[in-house]
Amino acid sequence: MSPVSCLLSPAPCPITFDHVWKRYRIGSKHDSLRDAIPRFFKQEAGLNGQSLHEGEFWAIQDVTFEVKHAETVGIIGPNGAGKSTALKLLSKICKQTKGQIQVIGRLAALIEVGAGFHPDLTGRENIYLNGTIMGLRRKEIDRLFDSIVEFSELKDFLEMPVKRYSSGMAVRLGFSVAAHVNPEVLLIDEVLAVGDLVFQQKCYQRLQDLKAAGTTIVFISHNLEAIQRLCDRVVLLDKGLLIQEGNPAEVIAGYRNKVLQTYRSKMRLPHGNVIEERSLDEVAFTQAFLTDASGNISDAFSTGDTVRLHLSYHAKRNIEQPRIVVTIERLDGLVCHTTSTAHAIDAFTISEGDASLMLEYDALNLLPNTYRIQAALFEHNNPVPLSASSYQLYFTLTSDSPEIGAVHLDHHWDTKVIPARDKVH
């Protein structure tokens, strides 16, 4: 959709971001008069301001998107993609170098929770300070005060200076104030990854409520599950460019693929997902790769596919009671699955020389994400692996399933059942 179609639709979009560019300068941000005066005149002389000077870069390059009324749009992308800059431009904290930005309606931006807290003031005083910073009137805060306190669960700490709060408490107080601003347009920058799990859930619930109440939301997060859960549409930025825009599952899958590619180039992993290495260890893996059911080497599968891990190793001596352990880990560190030859194969031995083995997952029922699979070789009960080089392969899973979470579970709904309680009686 272009901004033009937005103009044609009956209700104007609350947010339009039209061919926006934003330039920043790298390096020392504030200057002394001595360097600044010459620069000032140079700038005034070449006033067109459309090109890059030395030491400058584009944080946002020709980005265009819009957000419709009551829509929730997620912005994802690696660090330095321009996500926060986009939000700062939308909230008028900074001004774009080129392009048009329009925001209609009362706006609240949560760039940093509790940004306006003063450590020496009490919780109560900070609620008022922070509330007015967010654009609330004192009277409105009076009215909302009890609700804010209740949401924060900090009733007993109101008269304590915020500097004695734990960081979690401060965040709770900050979010509680922000959650009560009741804006028409809400901008959130990765602030929900704070506080304990219970409070996080409460924050997400609050967002769902705001969403249901028709608030237009722009949401930045590295938590892709949260993005998928909350957003109607997702924008992928990278190095200031809009890479992809569309439905959350698609864009997130695209992003995960990108992350995988970056990983691979950073860690110099060969493409095609084959790793071969010679080692001086007594036993070492020499080759590892993943294939699909028909034996084609791949690193992208669908949820539920048959996936095979092929491992080759070289032993310089016989190993009694060896154990090969294979672990699948999600990129955020969640260990999804671990299996070991010790429980699965009787009388598995490794004799001097080369050998291979294969591990087949009949149906890899993990949900879409990027995963790392690694193998390690142990002898008997020794907890230190024999092979010092640990093998890591990366792969992505995609799926059409609307399920969200870590794993796919076979399930079905049944609407024509007798209530369980009646059956008992």
Binding site: H30, S91, G116, D120, L121, T132, G135, L136
Partner: protein, 262 residues
């Protein structure tokens, strides 16, 4: 026209202005032993030292009034001026976390500082009443000029604060220039000595300094029961009005660049 938009937005954020002012006042005196007494301490300490040095040693005239009273009446508006500017210059650069993370009209910082210092000024002023009683000076009707004089000082302060706080974001040199300039300005303002000591041909230029007009006016009103010199007062008011308009215009023009630079 554009100025109206600015003012309207500032008005919309008036509660923020007041909470920032309240924050500044509370934070300043929290965890201090003497608390708000500090508002009186500074002019009082200067009063003692000035009396010793300029009256006892230097035999500076005080137009026939007791020198302590004379210097304190000058020191109260002067302290308001110097403290405000000392704090205002860094009021934006020192609040960078807020400037970068939340949108609101940034002039609330320098203006808030001036308002917070105004509260100190009011506290310090109360002691003028005490001194007047101590020296058996009658309170006279000319006191009705005070709101104009102090109003002029506040507007002047807001203008300078807007200018220096925004310049300081771009050039940290300003932070060092301001205290120096304030100190130099004190010697061209009749704080230590009376205006009558300024030679007649220079006095015209002398009174182009709005602070000289304010301090001289306050003394005339409070100590001598005379109205301020109207010509310089009107001229100063006009100049300050023009200046504050320009300063505000400049401030709003560069405001959008603060978050990029800090």
């Amino acid at each position: 026209m554009r100025m109206l938009t600015y003012l309207r937005e500032l008005y919309r954020y008036r509660d923020l202005l007041f909470s920032l002012t309240a924050r500044d006042i509370k934070v300043r005196y929290r965890q201090t032993l003497l608390g708000v007494a500090w508002a009186v301490m500074q002019p009082l300490a200067f009063m003692f030292i000035f009396t010793l040095v300029f009256q006892k040693f230097g035999k500076v005239s005080s137009d026939g009034t007791p020198y302590p009273l004379f210097s304190y009446t000058g020191l109260v508006p002067w302290t308001f001026f110097s403290t405000s500017l000392g704090l205002a210059v860094n009021s934006i650069a020192g609040n960078m976390s807020l400037v970068k993370k939340v949108y609101f009209p940034k002039e609330v910082f320098p203006i808030g500082v001036v308002l917070a210092c105004f509260v100190d000024f009011l506290i310090a002023s109360s002691l003028v009443g005490g001194l007047l009683m101590f020296y058996r000076f009658p309170v006279n009707v000319q006191i009705i000029w005070i709101p104009w004089l102090i109003g002029l000082e506040i507007v002047f302060l807001i203008g300078i604060s807007l200018l220096v706080s925004s310049l300081n974001v771009f050039f940290r040199d300003v932070k060092y220039i301001v205290p120096l300039a304030v100190q130099l300005l004190m010697f061209t303002t009749p704080v230590i000595y009376p205006t009558s000591m300024v030679p007649e041909p220079l006095r015209r230029y002398f009174l182009l300094n709005p602070m000289a007009v304010v301090v001289d006016g306050v003394r005339r009103v409070v100590l001598h029961g005379q109205p301020p010199e109207l010509g310089p007062l009107v001229l100063s008011t006009a100049l300050v009005g023009l200046f504050v308009g320009l300063a505000y215009g400049y401030f709003k023009r560069v405001e959008v660049r603060f978050a990029d630079l800090i």
